[in-house]
Symmetry: C2
Subunit: 146 residues, 2 copies
């Protein structure tokens, strides 16, 4: 089948299929005489693997490792698990960071009148004239995420 069909069947856009091929995540597709890429059902399966991995938030580099493990019939499941758990930790960390931001911001918004008057604790907090700006130990703002 051609790239459009492979895209529809795998959930990966044609654009991304070409990209994945260009960076060597997936092998070069077959070609027709006219130069069109062709995909076998096995190719589509690989693409679906990639699609699901992306859906779980794995990066391209992580998928490279996952694909290698998938193909390695003698892999140790421990290797897969380690990779997965590292990713879980990263996802959780990022999620916590976002939650912390939203929590802090919602806290401020809750205190904002939300009316026609200008007084607003959100703006006040951002402007924050009342804090220490001495480089050494900057005040711990929820915003100071690294």
């Amino acid at each position: 089948m051609k790239i459009g069909e492979a895209a529809a069947a795998s959930g990966v856009s044609a654009k991304m299929i070409r990209y994945y091929e260009s960076i060597g995540l997936i092998g070069p597709a077959g070609r027709t005489d006219a130069g069109y890429r062709t995909y076998t059902p096995a190719d589509v399966q690989t693409l679906r693997f990639v699609h699901r991995a992306r859906g779980l938030g794995f990066s391209v580099e992580q998928m490279r490792a996952l694909l290698a493990l998938w193909r390695d019939k003698r892999r140790a499941s421990a290797d897969v698990k380690r990779l997965a758990l590292e990713h879980v930790a990263a996802l959780e960390a990022k999620a916590r960071e976002l939650v912390e931001m939203s929590r802090a911001l919602r806290h401020l918004a809750d205190r904002c009148g939300g009316d026609a008057r200008p007084d607003c604790p959100i703006i006040d907090e951002l402007a924050d004239t009342h804090d220490a700006a001495d480089g050494a130990a900057p005040a711990r703002h929820a915003a100071d995420v690294t």
Copy 2:
């Protein structure tokens, strides 16, 4: 003060200060005869505003709006609040998405032996040969996030 000091005092890197100026988020800094940018305490305050807003996950475009509101002494706090709450919603949505990914992945990892044997539900789920497509009861892939 010069850009390095302003950076240290605000928490925004010199590189980013120049960038913010280049995109017009902040006004052009003063210049010494030699062409060095100079910053007043008020400039630094603006930079700290930006730093905190970034820390709360606001985009540059959102900061543009926030800065405008900050400067507008006749603003309606409702405008600030709306902006903040929209952002809170976006943050929460993103966080939920990440949590859902990590939850799904952890679920799989929990079922993985993590030993020397190759059998691994994580890989199995990604490869997923026993796929849906047959209308009946397609497996709910956590990965199928839209």
